[in-house]
Amino acid sequence: MSEQTLNRPTVPTGVPALSRGRGIRLGLKRIGYEVRVYFRLGDQVFFTFLFPVVMLSIFSAAFSASGNVGTNADGSGGISQGAYFLPGMIAAGILLSGVQNLATDIANEKSDGTLKRLGGSPLPVISYFTGKMGQVFVTSIAQVALLLVVARVVFSIELPTEPEKWVTFAWLYLLGIVTSAVLGIALSAVPRSGKSATAVVIPIVLVLQFISGVYLMFTMLPEWLQNIASLFPLKWLAQGMRSVFLPESFAALEQNGAWELGAVAINLLIWCVLGLVLSRLSFRWIRKDG
């Protein structure tokens, strides 16, 4: 090709500028659409939204006869098994609503042509992700609320009354859900097809739950497994949630005999930044020219 062709003035056909602020406006519009689609998917509602409630119910029922946790020497006091596992279920819910939900959702949209179509439309990438993040927030807040209501009403679990506990809960929740959502976006790049998405994502999420003190008491795990789990955010999120929902005396049962909220924040922040960088690097509307 000659220089001449390259330098030829471009054709003055019009590409008019778009209206201002549409990235945010369309992002908000996407949230409604995404939430609607989320609740229309039966498997999503069951395996992501209701899963922690179902697990809490099973734990409360299954271990109702095995007595309280953290009792005094004479067997008095302590809290119920359900109460002990509630914070873990909340942490697991945050993980499911972010990582499992977005990783499978976006991988599916990649393989079924949704992303290709959106990539050919004037929808800004930022609006797409605003929609996804909004969907995660709305569904996970509803999920946590449902979990707390069921815990209180059905299983008579005492919830904290001190405002500072709820402040801790608020920042843990926010940091946890943002981290979980960006990690979900990053993980969505791994499955090669929509069909393999759940096969890739669910084992990761499930293993994490088992080694992070969600279903098993963390300190019952062998030390090497505790060390592995300590690399990942779920262990820290669950520990932070226990600091909110369990009595102070339970801090002694933690890995280092303390809640370590500073370490919780640092681990979650590192994963949050890592997730952001990985999502930024890996996200494409389509896999170009495979």
Binding site: V11, V15, L18, S19, R22, G113, K116, R117, D289
Partner: protein, 303 residues
């Protein structure tokens, strides 16, 4: 006549376009222009490079060589403002099984600054009665019509239609043609790929034939293949078997046959080659001799 200089009414310019996947050459030195308001059809067998070409113009694929301008913009650098002027109907439908037709069309309408009316577009693709049905419950042909609705909702300057009527029944195709004609009447420029030659003949102002990645022919529908390819064919049968002769005066030939046979010739037919015949001739010729890329004017295939 210098056809190379694009006028201000040129909306798509493709020059010496090439696309390779490793050692496979998918598109080889293809050049064409599309003018504003024109309906241009890209024809060719499966795997000829039609979809690769159209996806390069849509910005989905990066080219290996050549120059491409769509609305004056290089598709590899096209941003959202550029995309807002395009309507894209891809070869395969996207899923969106959980939303209704109306929800989906409304959603996409919001992405554009001056969309068409949602109900009008749904009516134009014949889905008014299905507006409240979830897309997952529609038939294949109905889903295709949703794709078309999403392609036109943004009032595009340029509409890409990649095999749009696959899976349509004959009546739905007629309705679709009406819709395309009304878009044309509104001034929409259309780039169409299709397997149905009658569709190209019905809709296109110009067609280009791609075979094995090369442009083998380009021109108005009624002239491609050259005058020679359109010479009527007279077929008849006598004691020696089946005869076939191409002549510009088929009636005169038939009259001579009548005289010679002293009676009605057996199995007499006079056939004017359809676009399909011309196309099959071109594609067949390209398969036999890949170097014979020519236009109707006999020049190398550049417009």
């Amino acid at each position: 006549m210098n056809q190379h200089a694009p006028s201000s009414d040129t909306i798509v310019e493709v020059e010496n376009l090439g696309k390779r996947y490793g050692s496979l050459v998918a598109v080889d030195d293809v050049s064409f222009n599309i003018c504003r308001g024109e309906t241009f059809a890209l024809l060719g067998p499966n795997g000829a490079g039609k979809s690769t070409t159209i996806e390069i113009l849509e910005g989905y694929r990066d080219r290996t060589s050549g120059t491409v301008r769509v609305l004056g913009v290089d598709p590899q650098k096209g941003g959202v403002a550029w995309k807002a002027q395009l309507g894209i109907v891809l070869q395969s439908s996207a899923e969106a099984a959980q939303v209704t037709v109306r929800e989906q069309v409304e959603q996409f309408a919001a992405y554009y600054d001056h969309p068409r009316d949602v109900e009008e577009v749904i009516a134009a693709v014949g889905l008014t009665e299905k507006a409240k049905t979830r897309i997952g419950k529609l038939s294949g042909g109905q889903r295709r019509r949703v794709d078309v609705a999403l392609g036109v909702i943004g009032r595009p300057q340029l509409l890409f239609l990649d095999e749009p009527t696959t899976g349509f029944d004959p009546e739905a195709r007629r309705h679709f043609w009406e819709l395309i004609r009304s878009l044309k009447a509104d001034g929409t420029t259309i780039l169409l790929t299709t397997h149905y030659l009658d569709e190209a003949a019905q809709l296109a102002d110009r067609v280009a034939v791609i075979a094995a990645g090369k442009l083998v022919e380009i021109g108005p529908v009624d002239t491609i293949g050259g005058a020679e390819a359109r010479v009527p064919i007279v077929r008849w049968r006598d004691h020696a078997g089946l005869h076939e002769e191409r002549t510009l005066e088929p009636a005169a030939l038939a009259a001579r046959l009548l005289d010679a046979a002293a009676g009605e010739p057996r199995d007499l037919e006079i056939v004017r080659p359809s676009l399909e015949d011309v196309y099959l001739g071109l594609v067949g010729a390209a398969d036999r001799n890949p170097a014979s890329a020519r236009t109707t004017t006999g020049e190398p295939a550049h417009v």
